[in-house]
Symmetry: C2
């Protein structure tokens, strides 16, 4: 039976000591997030994740969701009760607008909580997770009437949300979508079409389900410029705002899939369903991207979360399993063999996962804080700078952290030998669940293209240039530090590789865009290594400072310093290989005719 302990101490170290949450009390909602309050909230979330959600993870995988002949979907045993408890405790609206019943706390805090939930039970966490994205899109683009009708229910968790983009013939290329919207006389629309891969599309956990649906209004332009966003509830709200008549939307089938069996992945049929326009006609993609960007950060959290829970189990196993002897002689001579944690290759594997997880958590929380600044700060310049960083990091967090989360789950599974392949140990579920995070909300290849094709050139490279300036200052200030110096030197090398790669694109991608496409995935990985390296220097610096001040968390702080060194020695060298691959360009890649593949 897998274990899970939410990393509360590590999260508090990041929020309080590294990121300094309390320095942002000028932002709305942050004054309420006192250190005591944050600790209490994280502790409560940890308890719920460990005691309620994690024990449901295996049954969720084994039993999965079941669709009845009438199109109803039953979630795994225990899922519904857990959701009711969660919603009743106000978790869904933790960072939502108090105007709609939310607690208005920092999104940063909600991101931390969502990691715990996702580690404990990724499939379950998707139900409230998608609701949060739908809340964000409605709040940003919905009319006051729509907001008043839907948001209080969704913020309370009484109603859940979904996003409906994909159709059988179109995923990445939404310009091809065919779902139709016909205006009705009362200002609503009749939506007709088939959507696939709709997570949480139908279930028994909430009294209503609010679908956000992309469709094309009759007569709209072709391509992405003719797409609109609609709200289509499962039950039409009656005059009192309570679930009324059944809408013409139903779950036609559940997908049989590799993992996240506890989440209902639905084919959704819209048969003239009643929907209402969100925002302007033909500008649905922009509105959906509000939801998508939120969701992409959430998927990055899922990558981290699976890497974390897989790590915890692998570390526990490595300390428990006795097999063979240390290369330097027996370490447990009283036993028949040594625990496998004595082996450098086992430690190397564990440290590699941990070095990604802890810096990934730092990057997510730092970026979530920038999201709070971007949405809540009073100063335009602060908001813009934070939004630039958020835009630049969104594909990196989604793409890099889900690649690494999956890799971490695979490596953790490997620690178990044959037992890792057997269902009862739970490790193979982490691998199967983690796999989807690389695919949905824009496959990771698309994240690379978003980074290189959109985020880099946007506003004449303003975001990446600001990042380089920040790195230059950061490095210059710490280079001569006797303790941090070696770490900073590695970071500087990584930043240099990233600058070279960026300049290579500037010199070669304009004349041939294939040179950007051929290097986009490696560029994303290169940025990923550099920003995690930056996080490690910040964590090591904080640890050094706290140790000097006599902080009682000495073991944890020393571990941070050693893991920082490990990251620089063992993971940072990848930036050189990324640069070499990027600089190779697209010639060999484009040389073959399509038939040769």
């Amino acid at each position: 039976m897998p274990i899970y302990r939410a990393p509360v101490e590590d999260t508090l170290f990041l929020l309080n000591d590294v990121l300094g949450l309390e320095r942002h009390t000028n932002l709305p909602g942050f004054a309420d997030a006192t250190p005591d309050m944050v600790e209490a909230i994280l502790g409560e979330a940890a308890r719920f994740a460990e005691e309620v959600l994690q024990p449901l993870n295996r049954v969720g995988d084994k039993v999965g969701c079941v669709r009845g002949a009438d199109g109803t979907v039953t979630t795994p045993p225990g899922f519904r009760d857990a959701y009711e408890t969660y919603a009743a405790a106000g978790w869904v609206g933790l960072s939502a607008d108090p105007a709609f019943g939310g607690q208005g706390l920092p999104y940063t805090l909600a991101a931390a909580v969502s990691e715990f939930v996702s580690s404990a039970n990724m499939a379950w966490g998707m139900y409230p997770g998608l609701t949060q994205g739908a809340i964000a899109a409605l709040a940003a683009h919905g009319s006051d009437d729509l907001k008043a009708l839907y948001l209080p229910k969704m913020v309370a968790g009484t109603w859940t949300g979904t996003m409906n983009l994909t159709e059988p013939h179109c995923g990445t290329d939404l310009g091809l979508l065919r779902t139709k919207a016909v205006p009705a006389e009362d200002g609503s629309f009749r939506i007709t079409g088939t959507k696939i891969f709709i997570s949480a599309g139908e279930h028994d956990m909430a009294e209503n389900i609010v679908h956000l649906v992309l469709a094309r209004i009759e007569g709209a332009p072709e391509g992405v410029k003719g797409i609109s966003l609609f709200v289509v509830p499962k039950f039409l709200p009656d005059a009192a705002g309570a679930p009324g008549a059944r809408n013409a939307v139903s779950c036609g089938a559940l997908e049989e899939k590799m993992g996240i069996h506890g989440n209902a992945t639905c084919v959704m049929n819209y048969d003239g369903a009643t929907g209402w326009l969100i925002g302007e006609a033909h500008k649905g993609l922009r509105a959906m991207f509000t939801m998508m960007n939120e969701a992409r950060l959430g998927v990055g959290v899922q990558g981290l979360a699976q890497g974390e829970v897989a790590y915890q189990n692998a570390a526990a196993y490595a300390k428990d399993r006795v097999q063979g002897r240390a290369l330097t002689g027996p370490k447990a001579p009283d036993k028949a063999a040594d625990p496998i944690i004595v082996h450098p290759d086992v430690r190397r594997t564990l440290l590699a996962i941990r070095a990604i997880n802890e810096a990934g958590r730092a990057l997510i929380l730092h970026t979530a804080l920038m999201s709070d600044v971007a949405h809540r700060a009073g100063d335009d310049k602060d908001r813009q700078a934070a939004d630039d960083f958020l835009g630049l990091m969104t594909p990196v967090i989604k793409g890099f952290l889900t690649d690494k989360g999956f890799q971490g789950a695979v490596e953790a599974q490997q620690m178990f030998g044959g037992h890792g392949y057997v269902a009862e140990w739970g490790m193979e579920q982490f691998v199967r669940d983690a796999r989807i995070a690389m695919i949905y909300e824009g496959a990771n290849g698309i994240q690379g293209l978003d980074l290189v094709g959109r985020k880099l050139p946007a506003n004449n490279g303003r975001a990446i240039q600001a990042f380089f300036r920040e790195m230059a200052g950061f490095v210059a200030e710490r280079k001569a530090d006797p303790v941090l110096g070696p770490l900073v030197a590695s970071l500087e090398k990584g930043v240099g590789d990233l600058q070279k790669a960026t300049m290579w694109f500037m010199a070669n991608a304009l004349k041939n865009p294939d040179n950007a496409g051929a290097g986009s995935t490696d560029y994303l990985a290169l940025v990923g290594h550099v920003v995690l390296g930056w996080m490690w220097v910040r964590m090591a610096e904080t640890a050094e400072r706290l140790v000097a001040a006599g902080d009682p968390r000495r073991d944890m702080l020393e571990r941070k310093k050693i893991t920082a060194r490990f990251f620089m020695e063992r993971l940072m060298p990848e930036t050189g290989a990324c640069l070499a691959r990027i600089s190779a360009g697209s010639e060999a890649i484009m040389a073959l005719p399509a038939e040769a593949f």
Copy 2:
């Protein structure tokens, strides 16, 4: 529904043009392997794999093996008929000794055939695959009586074989094993104990199952020096050599696992079962290693095989799926979108899988040829040199090609977006099946230790030194070649990194063995990149020669040259990162106390 076409043309190119099988007609059995014969055999194997085995792959996964209350195991529908056809056609004994009914053809050819089988249906292929390993161990170490009794049945495929090593508390560390063997008066033994993870341990495909079982004879020394190998048949052969009384061995349970559902992974209970000693008492590990080494090459083939079939499906999908437009403007303006093969990132992904697959196949066939030389050559020096190479490459083929095969399957799945996560497309099965190859027959971390701890220092480094001499000569002869020169320069850089890593171990691992353990996995990857790079230069050189001679396979040959360039530009840079990681040593890795993990 997934597709599969056996790579007959590529295999013939390797056997005939690159490796020159016909230059080895001095070896027993090779004279029969004329080009026509080889082509006919590969064609027949391809047909069987494509038409019989591949259609059973999904049902094997979906239905799996079922254990009855009486301990019998039913294989998936169609598995048994396919096996009977396969055995009747003589495939099991393709390279086995004619003295026991085998065809005596090169093992090289059998390795090629096993790739086709494993691509088409990995779980099915394990039944005959394990039999071949058991044949090898019995042939090398069994008494004449045992060989006469068992080998003809096993070579004919009428009886299948298994290997029984693992117990609940011992996998890697066989010194801990507890299964007991008590001598009986008639010279046989009574075997008692529990073995786990026994592939093909019980099934309905053959009239008898021959278990090779590691056990400790009563009073034997502790540790690995007290382990003996026994043959324990499911049915005791009667006087006529036919299956007689049921032996006291039974399947206690089937493991519920991540993949290879079509293969029965059994808990085997030995309750005083009758067995006979193979080879000398207490020297069972050496005998088992004959089987294990054969099996490790076979597992490397599985890695390649899953990477190959996954590639084929991803390439077909990329040519078929239309979505978005090329970065350089529409390529299929008459369609709503371009096929995704126009995108550099899609091509990069496909080429990376292909560059590993084709060089992996070359390495496997080259190494299999060295295995034939090691076992069949008349000259002692030839045999020793071939055996040295075989020993050096066995962990690399097992470890590197299964890591890369899994990675290839994951990347191929990624091409499908959400469809890759859904069972009906078959891609997620390739990933789940490929995963086990990194684990069994010695987890890949163990392969790294075998390479660095055993194979490198053996005979004062004779094997690696011979390899470096071969590389030096190979590079020197081709460095100035105008066409091959750039490829050779990349290879030379890789060889240089490998030499530096080897010297680093010599300088640092003696004084602290943890420095070897901390770099073993990276060293294995480093060797893997170098030998695949070597194979690419050989393939490109052959392609160049054949194109110049007007060979009609021009498209294939040009593709080889481009893929060679891709490998050097995009995959070879990893050797520098491996060297950097190895040179970092073990300090940071060993610094933390076990509790800190």
